[in-house]
Symmetry: C2
Subunit: 355 residues, 2 copies
């Protein structure tokens, strides 16, 4: 199952809206005769690949698969059919399908067909690996990661607005890798106007993640880099009450999404419907604060630059969260911390009350 889990990780970032799944087939004598992972939505499921590789050798053997095999027709035929056909004797499942509508259905189907099924093996690890998928299926919005680059004194820029660059080149490369593992990258209109970012993974992910701008005004420079849709797709989510003729001023193959109200949570729901499991919020303090309040953020990447900026005005990553006592503040847990060049990268997730 550990091997299946490792295999599953090879699909990380490219399987949405599907989860990452890995599978291993042993023959009757316990020898490895097939393995596979789910690489992209619409592509072969992990267990089908592994069984195909095993062929006749699967007969009487054991299939290890990190997630419960599907029992319904989607873009591909149900995996349970392939399992029956393979005449495998035993199926070991990591985690039951977290989608409450189907959970356990695949397992029951196999058991009814006389196959010995064990489940719950390394379930916690599988759940962690697919926390984005599980979160979307259960909550109807994507797993949100908020990225902020701050100085030691908690500044995201100088009082005069200058913020390029707090972090070093290695940090920015790491952010490109993070983008490559996300389905969409979200900024507000202010970031487009101030920083004119490209918001791509610089080719690390093909296709590039969807670039999303959430704007209340549609007041965006027509020549902004994100409107070059030859590199990556762009979605502009805007307040639905704005006049439609404003949309005509934008060139490129930009997708427009009217929202009522034009809030992060509404955007998140729409992105989940589009199949986004994991999105990266790279926005300024105002949008980040609203996204956080509306529970669109489940994980945090803090890029901590070893610098002191000072400044009379805040220029901090968040605005007011309405807390008046330390008992109320948002508590998180450190998942990891590592040096990237001169900077320190901290990954955290929100405590259970917020995810």
């Amino acid at each position: 199952m550990r091997r299946a889990l490792q295999l599953a990780s090879l699909g990380k970032g490219s399987t949405s809206p599907n989860p990452c799944v890995g599978a291993v087939v042993l023959n009757e004598d316990g020898q490895l005769v097939g393995d596979g992972f789910h690489a992209y939505a619409g592509g072969c499921h992990a267990e089908v690949k592994a069984l195909a590789q095993a062929g006749d050798r699967a007969k009487g053997g054991t299939l290890f698969v990190t997630l419960e095999p599907c029992c319904h027709y989607g873009r591909t035929p149900p995996c349970t059919e392939a399992i029956l056909k393979s005449e495998i004797r035993r199926v070991v499942v990591g985690l039951k399908d977290p989608d409450p509508r189907v959970s356990g259905g695949g397992i029951s189907f196999l058991q009814d067909a006389g196959i010995d099924v064990v489940s719950g093996i390394l379930a916690e690890q599988v759940a962690y690996q697919n926390r984005d998928f599980i979160f979307r299926v259960q909550n109807g919005r994507p797993w949100g990661i908020l990225k902020c680059a701050v100085s030691l004194d908690g500044r995201i820029g100088l009082s005069n607005g200058e913020s390029k660059w707090i972090s070093g080149t290695e940090s920015r490369k790491e952010v490109h890798r993070l983008r490559a593992n996300c389905d969409a990258v979200i900024v507000g209109g202010g970031t487009v106007r101030a920083d004119n970012p490209l918001l791509t993974s610089r080719g690390l992910s093909i296709p590039e993640p969807l670039r999303v701008v959430l704007t209340d005004t549609l007041n965006l420079p027509a020549d902004a880099k994100i409107f070059d849709t030859s590199i990556a797709k762009t979605l502009v989510a805007y307040r639905a009450s704005l006049e439609a003729e404003k949309l005509n001023s934008f060139k490129g193959d930009v997708e427009f999404l009217p929202l009522t109200p034009s809030e992060p949570i509404e955007l998140a729901k729409k992105l989940a419907e589009k199949g986004c499991n994991r999105v990266l919020w790279e926005c300024g303090a105002k949008l980040a604060t609203t996204a956080l309040k509306q529970e669109c953020i489940q994980e945090l990447l803090v890029v901590l630059a070893p610098k002191l900026l000072g400044g009379d005005f805040a220029m901090t990553p968040l605005e007011d969260l309405g807390f008046t006592s330390m008992e109320q503040v948002l508590s998180m847990n450190f998942l990891s911390f590592q040096k990237q060049g001169n900077d320190l990268h901290l990954r955290l997730n929100c405590s259970e009350n917020h995810s």
Copy 2:
């Protein structure tokens, strides 16, 4: 020499105004016959201890000592005399005495007496171990460590002023350990009024480090915890132009230090004169900013709590540093980072332009 360096570290925090020194004696055949370290000012010097332990066995042998032996009468007789008396044949020195007034004098004395002297062995490590002592000797002010406890979004408190506790209990214990390694702990009057801290190492260091309040107004609560001088000594540094009768309102055996002007740098110079090698600044944003501007800070301890506080008002660890471009900001280097309970402790030093 590595053993001598390790021995030296045993005196860390208690030798001021002296440096940490360790010594090892090998006999003629290269066998260990004595070792020692400098434990406290006025106590035996490391090389004298090691030679005393070796006794006659030192004759014809080798002395390893991390810092150049002294050749002058201070609180103890010069070490060079003890070395001559021991009839040691060879002396291996880590680092020359960094005090420019005596540097090399001890070595010349020994060489003139016919002893074979080698120096510069692990000099960099010895210099790092004694960076506080060296800094004071060369700059006339103590090595300053600024401690700040901040949230992930760079806040030291909520908008309403509440700041207890951002960090966890393990973090606070670690701060007690840090205090135990410092000669003085400095706060401003505002911190005394707002937090009423005890500022001790909770018994980890005996005597406790000197508690110092830098105040412009002498407007301090007479019943503040720092005025209980039965636990630890307290120094109140105040603007010299204030009326002297104000001093009579304070009980306890408090020391008063008039300063003109009442600035961090003036306080630092006075503390260096008092023999402080290393001081801890545990002050609020205003005093921290001035101390930093006046180059009183050489090292930083950031206690990073995995929390998000938000807030309309700044409540950040520093005020304005006057920077208008990213090229001007203070750059530091990460020395270490480690988890303490739920918090992350980051140690940094200032880049060369600032230390």
